[in-house]
Symmetry: C2
Subunit: 385 residues, 2 copies
Amino acid sequence: MSLDPAAAAALGTVRIVGTGLLGTSIGLALTSLGTRVVLADPSPTSLSLAASLGAGEPDPGNGTARITVVAAPPDVTAQVVAAELAAGPSTTVTDVASVKGQVLRSVTDTGADLTRYVGGHPMAGRERSGPMAARGDLFLGRPWVICPGEKSDPTRVADVRLLAQALGASPVTMPAVDHDAAVALVSHVPQIASSLVAARLQHAADDVLALAGQGVRDVTRVAASDPVLWAQILTGNARPVVDVLHGVRGDLDAVIEALAVLVDDDTDAGGPADPGGPAGRRVLGASLVEVAGLIHRGTVGRERIPGKHGGGPDRFAVLTVVIPDEPGQLAALFADIGTAGVNVEELTLEHAPGRAVGLLEVSVVPGAADTLTKTLASHGWKIVG
Amino acid sequence: MSLDPAAAAALGTVRIVGTGLLGTSIGLALTSLGTRVVLADPSPTSLSLAASLGAGEPDPGNGTARITVVAAPPDVTAQVVAAELAAGPSTTVTDVASVKGQVLRSVTDTGADLTRYVGGHPMAGRERSGPMAARGDLFLGRPWVICPGEKSDPTRVADVRLLAQALGASPVTMPAVDHDAAVALVSHVPQIASSLVAARLQHAADDVLALAGQGVRDVTRVAASDPVLWAQILTGNARPVVDVLHGVRGDLDAVIEALAVLVDDDTDAGGPADPGGPAGRRVLGASLVEVAGLIHRGTVGRERIPGKHGGGPDRFAVLTVVIPDEPGQLAALFADIGTAGVNVEELTLEHAPGRAVGLLEVSVVPGAADTLTKTLASHGWKIVG
């Protein structure tokens, strides 16, 4: 997986409208491949920055672009797409907004030439934004979803596919409605769930937060995201997100009900008259079934996420190695892993708040775990799991 | 942070009841420090395994233990604690269950000698269980919450603190009710949220799951947990968990309402009469404020989780490095990081499903980011962020 000079050579001139993170990153990659890139942005500062970084030249306005990439904020994407379709009577127009149905509906409402518009969504966001965070390698190996409308001309779809290939991404074609339902499930609702948990921590005492382990850190990592951008995304994909959230709320209500009936028992303010007797045991049994059922369905759902090589997430053996918190320890460890001839599939360095040690989880194929454990132990590494 | 031989030497004989992951790990650590450990378990196989692994000797039953550690499953912990208090008239009894109020109430109900019982919770779970997964280093640097009851004798509390110190853990003392509220917030509700999201993935199509990125992987990682164990934990801590879940449901309902009103607009089945006009814009504005408000509160809550050295999670600069998927690449990378003299604070190796490349996120203190970026680039590494 790398940038594709052959695909880039076939692109012709590319016009990029919007020189934030994504637009500038696309420009940097294409320029490095020798493709001519012309840039436009309502902010002269952002435009000048992107051009100075090497993402292309400010568009002289002679209308020679074969492909126009609209990389504007989601809430203005549709109007910019429509304006570009009107201004360049032969250019293919695509966009990079993370919700596709709303853009297509809005562009359709303008009466624009839909044969030349093909929506796209490179799934390569970052926690940072703006041209200074841009990288030409941003799209390497990432899915780039292409959502042709009913009226999109196949040659225009091929143009956008070529663009994704040039940037080293993996093009995936699906209707906008399917894309929007998919990202609601695998991106938008996880974001909301992460924020819901993190919002509960806002007023927690310091000694409570000191007990936070890796679990809550993982669950809330994506909660550190831009509120304005996410408000645009979630309101722009309201219907699919609400559909998934209704399912979440149904499960949540069932868990709350299963646990609340036990609370009533404790206070004698309700629930069965005989909590220690047969009736009480039946209530507890029903609660256990409900709660274990949710956790079980979660394990099944989690197992379905494809791993690095397309397998489930549990196909690797995990070793946890103690890492002294000083320079050079990771280098020494990976040198020792190298002597075992073992490939590392996944890695996570775990926090130990305030402590002079880290715990590194190393995932390897199961057949390699014994060899690696013995090799590392013989080099003096502490393996704690 | 390491095992503490001086603390271990002061312990006297330790009796461990329950030779699963935690009991066997405690035995391995203490035995390695020269402390005499006697073991008991209702399963002769588990007992024999733990003894053979070096966790101690099967208890000859002469009642000489100064400290008894009950490491039984949560749903039988209280009755085992009560039995141990009755059987050993001078021993200090502690336990390792992850919910503390319920155990204390149940032990109190038995009329046992509460002066000698001090609850504990080493926060060192693993995804695997049983004696074969045990490690003597399991508790290094982890919080070990100690929850004295109102009647606990201070010398008994000191015994349990000594035990935690011997095992290299960080003892933290708080009332059981505070502990249970804390773990509801930082462990139990995050687990439920993770399972709620993962359960939605159960019936998703493969092409939808192929779009899963690092965000949903992080949010759902802890969803791969034991349903029966978690049903015991959550029903055992029902009241604090329900309290936090009510807050979550309130926020969730507000988001659903804010998004649903926009869906009604789309279908013309409700909502304001004039979606594109001033009334419609007011509705959209209110929805944006509601959704952005939740995401914002999440960023604030997330920011409050202490980092590796006690700071916020955003105090590090993050470099994303492209790692070819072949043995030796990580060793080469960390050797090059070593030449920069930079200490790595956090690490995550990101999946690229089915691709011959990985993306490694390396977190360093902000002052070291420039040096590291230049050093790695000069060694030919691709840095994509």
